[in-house]
Subunit: 242 residues, 2 copies
């Protein structure tokens, strides 16, 4: 991965930016970079576009490419995900805390209409229903209800489900979950939320719900996550074009 030309250039530029090699916050023009690193201008553009997508630089037609000053202030609001995390254990800053899983429920059910639609199921397909309580250092922070088609993972067991399913997929079946569509919202806590997540009645949960996809586009899991509100922090960098 890192031996790709545009990846190397990307990484080089990123290091230089962080190191403060461009005190005037302006990068050299694309043609110069192309010359300097002996790569085509297209490759330079590719690297710079990624930096722009990540919010690290701004490209301004006619004047140049400029470093986002906010990115340099390392302790600032600007430490975000690049939207590039998936999997519960990766998505939350655990700050050295040990993640845990407590299995609440594990059974096979007939999917509701909506679920059938979202997971692209046929009429007589069944799904596993997996309800788990997620913890950090024995402190519960999320109730997760997952639905996985039997036909995708017929071998699923209480054992597997008590650990990270994504890791299992990766290691045992060499399949990666690289895409997800999620809706983020907030709700008052239910009695169950309050009990499991140790919430006061007036304290809410954050809700993240949606579909995870395998590399090849197969909808793999529908998941509904109810988070202790203090643990829900979703960072996004958005660009509009149209």
């Amino acid at each position: 991965m890192a031996d790709l030309v545009y990846r190397q250039l990307l990484s080089t530029l990123k290091k230089q930016i962080v190191a403060g090699d461009y005190p005037n916050l302006k990068l050299p023009d694309e043609r110069s970079l192309s010359e300097q690193y002996q790569v085509s201008r297209s490759t330079v553009k590719r690297a710079l576009s990624i930096l722009a997508d990540q919010g690290i630089v701004f490209k301004k037609r006619g004047s140049g490419t400029f470093i986002n000053p906010l990115y340099l202030k390392n302790d600032s609001v600007f430490h975000y995900n690049n939207g590039s995390n998936l999997g519960v254990t990766d998505s939350f800053q655990m700050n050295g805390r040990k993640p845990g899983i407590s299995l609440l429920n594990f059974e096979v059910v007939r999917p509701q209409a909506e679920l059938k639609r979202d997971l692209f199921l046929k009429n007589d397909d069944f799904v596993y229903e997996i309800k788990r309580l997620r913890l950090f250092d024995d402190e519960p922070f999320m109730i997760e209800s997952g639905y996985i088609p039997i036909k995708i993972m017929p071998e699923l067991s209480r054992q597997i489900v008590s650990g990270s399913i994504f890791n299992y997929l990766q290691k045992e079946k060499n399949q990666a979950v690289t895409k997800s569509y999620l809706t983020i919202s907030a709700e008052p806590s239910t009695k169950e939320d309050q009990q499991q997540l140790k919430l006061q009645p007036n304290e809410p949960v954050g809700v993240m719900a949606g579909v995870f996809f395998l590399d090849d586009g197969t909808p793999f899991e529908y998941s509904r996550m109810r988070l202790h509100y203090k643990y829900m922090k979703y960072n996004t960098f958005v660009t509009i074009d149209d």
Copy 2:
């Protein structure tokens, strides 16, 4: 904008996909498309990459490009933003409801340290503090607190601030806000939230806070939005690579 070759191809393919012109959910290969539409393969790749970023298709090296079945089910969970909306009046589905603004407060203040950092301000820079209640059809749904450096918009007035600031920027100064960094979270409602947004004490608010940037990368506004929880629905399509 739409006369660009890759944009046209993009729009053509999107229409065909929605129209069901590819019943087997597989697009023609890139070289065929290049031939068929008399454009270079690079241009085809560009259009297809955008479709992939939007989650509409999956590209699989060695086998082809496939349509995401979820995208075809139009009424499904899959109708999302592409993360491509900015500006309050654009960002929420208004469903024909008329947006309104009630100005709660408008003054000049000395920015706190954190704000100074996020807006990249110097020691003696001042900011406008603009607090507004946003409505749909006279129903309040959001309390918005915005902070804009005086030096960026010295001409700001109660009049301007009572309408859409982004529209004003666009029309009067030909500057667009095209990027934002936001953190999304949830909180119990405060007394003020409950009063302004007509919430019960146990009902929460969604919080979206962060920085909006001008085209040239200037941090333009820090905004903190507290939303009636029923109005907070943020949709994301995330891809991981690394």
